[in-house]
Structures are given as structure tokens and as C-alpha cells.
């Protein structure tokens, strides 16, 4: 059997095993790679960096456990940046699973690195509300009509940082960490555009391409996939080196690069096999015509 025939008959499970090895081996050796923030990510970082102390940031957790490797590092990096700069963080969720992700973030960021920040004064977790884009539309008009309590059931009137918040228009920036519908697009449509509120996004790589048309006029900036998260972490570490060890996305960019290289090799081999097979068939037809 020729090499070409072997390549054509290769079992897909061998490719799965190669991919598993391509991810597992770099995870063991942890190669460090240098990541530089791109302009679309830097704009989000620069915006948060430029806001005066006490500015209000609304962060929406519109994703679930299935996309944690991509979304959670960007959410944590944004939360660290916001709290480090002493801005006020309002956490909401348009996804049922988002509330639990916000709880995880509170454990890993607020209760670990920012124990001196006070709940209700520096950050608040308002939790999930049903309604998808209808929820965004509702809080755009009157936030307290829908959010009568925080996620723990405390009356919002008893929360100091909620006293001067009537609607989304009171926010200085909306950051949506999302992986589908409702997501960044809906926050642009129902809050950013009608209220002229800056909207930034952090989304899975699958989603990122669909949001580029909104940049830069309707979308302030975007973190796309693990690469976007790593770029934001790189910007954060460059300014605040104490967060180097918390940079989850930067730490797994090595396996990501190796896996990408492997896929490029698969694509090249697949195409080479295809063209070789086509040439063989063409030769076979010419030989058949002569005989």
C-alpha cells in the first residue's frame, strides 16, 4: 500500500489521539509565550484605565460552564482591573448559568485578592434575571423595577452603591462576557446604541467574528477567545505585575499554539493528499484513454 493510500485510510481516532498529545504534552511542560495586546483589546484596557475613581462598570455574565476556559480568564482580568482602579463593579447576568460563574469569580477575585473591598460599596452581585434582551431593555429604562434585590435577596435600597443608580444610563461602561445569545450584540442594540453607553465585550472565539462589524463605532473593544483574554492579561500584567501568577489565559497559550500548529499540519497533509489523489486519477484517465 502506497503512502497516499495509507494517508487516505488513516483512522480519525489517531488524529484525536495526536490532538490529545498536542495539548497534554505542552500542558505538562508549560512553555511560556509572549503575548502583545492588539488595538481592539487595548481599547478596553485603556478605557478602564482612564475612568476616574468611583466610575460605574456594569459587567454581565452571559455564559456558562461550557465556555469557562475562554470566558472566565477575561472576566477575572476585568474584575481585577476594575477593583484595582477602585471603580464600582455591578454584576448582572442574562444567562441562568451566568450567576454561578459570577459566584466563582467572587471566590477567586474578591475573596482572594480584594478582601479590603466592601460588598455593596465597591462591588455588588445583582444576579440573574429572565427575559434575554427584554431584561436589558427593562433595566435600560428603570433598573430598580427589575432588580428589586441583589442575588442574595437583599433589598437594593439597603445597598449603598445602588442608591444613585436608576437605569443603565448611569453606567460609565458596560462589559459583557458572553458566549452566545443574549450577548454583546444585544447589549449594543438595547443599551449601548440607544443610551450612548460604551459597550465592550469578551466573547468566545466562535462569537468574535460576528461582532467585528460593530467595532469601533458601536463596540468599544473586544476580547476574542483565549487569545483575547491572554492579550488583556498581558496588558494588565504590564501595568500591574502583581497579577502575573493569576493570568490563567497566558499560562495556557502554549498548548493553544501547539494545537493550532498541529491543525495546520493536518490541513496541509489533507490538502497534499487530495491534490496527489487528483493527479493520480488524472494520470489514470489519460492512461486509460491511450489504451
Amino acid at each position: 500500500m502506497s503512502l497516499l493510500d495509507r494517508m487516505k485510510r488513516i483512522d480519525r481516532r489517531i488524529l484525536f489521539l495526536l490532538m490529545a498529545a498536542g495539548v497534554a504534552i505542552p500542558l505538562l511542560f508549560r512553555p511560556t509565550l509572549t503575548v502583545h495586546p492588539s488595538p481592539i483589546v487595548s481599547r478596553v484596557f485603556d478605557k478602564i484605565e482612564s475612568l476616574p475613581e468611583g466610575s460605574k462598570i456594569l459587567m454581565s455574565f452571559d455564559y456558562g460552564p461550557s465556555t469557562v476556559p475562554e470566558n472566565q480568564p477575561m472576566a477575572e482580568a476585568i474584575a481585577r482591573h476594575v477593583l484595582r482602579r477602585r471603580l464600582k463593579l455591578y454584576m448582572v447576568s442574562a444567562w441562568t448559568t451566568g450567576q454561578a460563574q459570577a459566584d466563582l469569580l467572587i471566590e477567586s477575585v474578591m475573596r482572594t485578592d480584594f478582601t479590603d473591598r466592601v460588598y455593596g460599596e465597591d462591588w455588588v452581585h445583582l444576579g440573574y434575571k429572565a427575559g434575554n434582551q427584554g431584561m436589558i431593555n427593562a433595566i435600560f429604562g428603570a433598573m430598580r423595577n427589575l432588580y428589586t434585590t441583589d442575588a442574595a435577596g437583599t433589598n437594593v435600597d439597603a445597598i449603598p452603591m445602588m442608591r444613585d443608580v436608576q437605569s443603565l444610563r448611569d453606567m460609565d461602561l458596560i462589559v459583557d462576557i458572553a458566549s452566545g445569545f443574549p450577548g454583546v450584540k444585544e447589549w449594543i442594540q438595547f443599551a449601548g446604541d440607544p443610551g450612548n453607553i460604551p459597550v465592550a465585550g469578551g466573547v468566545t472565539a466562535v462569537e468574535a467574528l460576528l461582532l467585528y462589524p460593530y467595532y469601533p463605532r458601536q463596540l468599544l473593544g473586544l476580547m476574542g477567545g483565549l487569545q483575547g483574554a491572554a492579550e488583556y492579561e498581558a496588558a494588565l500584567v504590564a501595568k500591574y505585575p502583581e497579577y502575573r501568577d493569576d493570568s490563567k489565559a497566558l499560562q495556557i497559550m502554549g498548548p493553544q499554539y501547539v494545537a493550532h500548529l498541529l491543525i495546520v499540519v493536518f490541513i496541509l497533509i489533507g490538502n497534499a493528499t487530495y491534490f496527489a489523489e487528483r493527479r493520480r486519477q488524472k494520470r489514470g484517465r489519460i492512461a486509460g484513454g491511450r489504451s
Binding site: R13, F16, M19, A20, V23, A24, L27, S66, T67, V68, P69, E70, T96, T97, Q99, G127, Y128, K129, A130, G131, Q133, G134, N137, L146, T148, T149, A151, G153, T154, N155, I188, Q189, F190, D193, P194, T204, A205, V206, A208, L209, P213, Y214, R217, Q218, G224, G225, L226, Q227, I252, P255, Q256, A259, H260, I263
Partner: protein, 225 residues
């Protein structure tokens, strides 16, 4: 690591292995993990919607004193009888379960569809139609303090050429021949580049998720050995 954390680690790892077993072939373990996930997600969504939305925004405002013992903050506010209206329409949706009254659910559906269509129409018109048209109107020759900004000019040229040619490809009222045909062909190339970028991003996303699962499995193996 606490006992609860260890149980979480084991459940996550075993379910991951069950799901990945599909890569070899379909099997009962994969089926179990799939159904388990769907069931858990549905139940979780239902419970969260009840306690986060229905209780504080509906029942807590209709009868604050009644739900006050399970949601103390609700008792602090006066009753809001207007909330009977959405509750009534919500109940009408359940009329589908009773055949003679099934037609009543159409009223609630009409309200939902009417609201969604109305709200979406204006927002899509502003953000996706007008907003995108406005964003596409860019100067082909960009000037800055140092003269012509070649990078920005090229970027805008690619955007405009790609947009017009892709639109030409989807214009079927004219035969795709001559200059129009060439523009249409360029449109196909533009679309192919976009599909390639989408594929690349999808691969990146899937690999990220794979890395996340491998990290979890690594922690699990580390706990065992």
C-alpha cells in the same frame, strides 16, 4: 482540598471521560452524560428563574405579606397589583394543556411575539441596519498629520471593496457577466476569506475548551496519584 471539592472534581472528571468516550464510538456512558446534562440544565434554569425572577418580581409584588416568610425583602414593599397582568398572561400559556381552553394560550403568545417583534424591529433597524450602513461609509483616502495614512486607507478600501463585491454576489436580478461578474467573483473570494476566519476562530474556541477539560483531568489525576 475539602470533601465537597473532591466530589466536584470526581464528578467533573468522570463526566468528561464519559463525553469524550464518544470519540471512540457511541456508547451508554456518553448517552448518560448527555441526558444528565440536559436534565440538570433544565432544572437549574427553572429553579433560578423561579427564585430570581418570579418570586421577587411577580409573587413578591402581588402578595408581599404572603411570600414575606420565604423572601423577607418582599414584605418591605407595598403590593403592586399591576403585576397581576403578566401573571395572568403567563397562566394563559398553560391553557394549552387543557384542550377546550387551548385557544387562550394564543393571546399570551401574541403578547410575547408582539413585544419581541416590536422591540427587536426598532433596535435591529437602528443598530444593525442604520448603524452598519453608517459604519460602512468610510473615506477611501485617509489623511493624518503626516499626510496620507496608507494603512488606514488600505483597510477602508478592503472594507468597501469587500462589502460591494459580496453584495454583488447576492444580487440575482442581473446576470453575473462582464464587470459585474468579476465583482461577484471577488465577492465569493471575500466570503471565502470570512468563512476561513470563522473556521479558524471555531478551531481556537474548541481547542481552548479541550485545554480546559485536560486541566480538569490533570487535577483529578493529581488527586489520585
Amino acid at each position: 482540598m475539602t470533601g465537597v471539592e473532591r466530589i466536584e472534581l470526581w464528578i467533573g472528571a468522570l463526566l468528561t471521560l464519559m463525553v469524550y468516550s464518544f470519540l471512540y464510538r457511541d456508547n451508554p456512558f456518553y448517552k448518560f452524560a448527555e441526558h444528565f446534562f440536559v436534565g440538570i440544565t433544565a432544572a437549574y434554569a427553572m429553579v433560578l428563574a423561579f427564585w430570581n425572577t418570579l418570586m421577587p418580581n411577580c409573587f413578591g409584588q402581588i402578595a408581599p405579606s404572603l411570600v414575606g416568610h420565604v423572601l423577607p425583602t418582599a414584605a418591605e414593599n407595598p403590593a403592586n397589583p399591576v403585576r397581576w397582568i403578566p401573571l395572568l398572561f403567563g397562566l394563559l400559556l398553560l391553557a394549552r394543556l387543557v384542550a377546550p381552553l387551548a385557544y387562550l394560550s394564543r393571546w399570551a403568545m401574541a403578547l410575547v411575539i408582539g413585544y419581541a417583534a416590536g422591540a427587536n424591529f426598532t433596535r435591529y433597524l437602528q443598530s444593525d441596519f442604520m448603524g452598519q450602513v453608517r459604519s460602512s461609509m468610510v473615506p477611501l483616502l485617509v489623511r493624518d498629520a503626516g499626510g496620507i495614512a496608507y494603512g488606514s486607507s488600505l483597510s477602508n478600501l478592503v472594507l468597501v471593496a469587500g462589502l460591494i463585491s459580496a453584495l454583488a454576489y447576492f444580487f440575482f436580478s442581473k446576470e453575473h457577466t462582464g464587470m459585474f461578474g468579476r465583482a461577484s467573483r471577488f465577492g465569493i473570494w471575500t466570503l471565502m476569506v470570512a468563512f476561513g476566519a470563522a473556521f479558524g476562530y471555531t478551531v481556537m474556541a474548541r481547542v481552548s475548551l479541550l485545554i480546559g477539560r485536560f486541566q480538569h483531568l490533570g487535577r483529578w489525576l493529581g488527586d489520585i496519584f
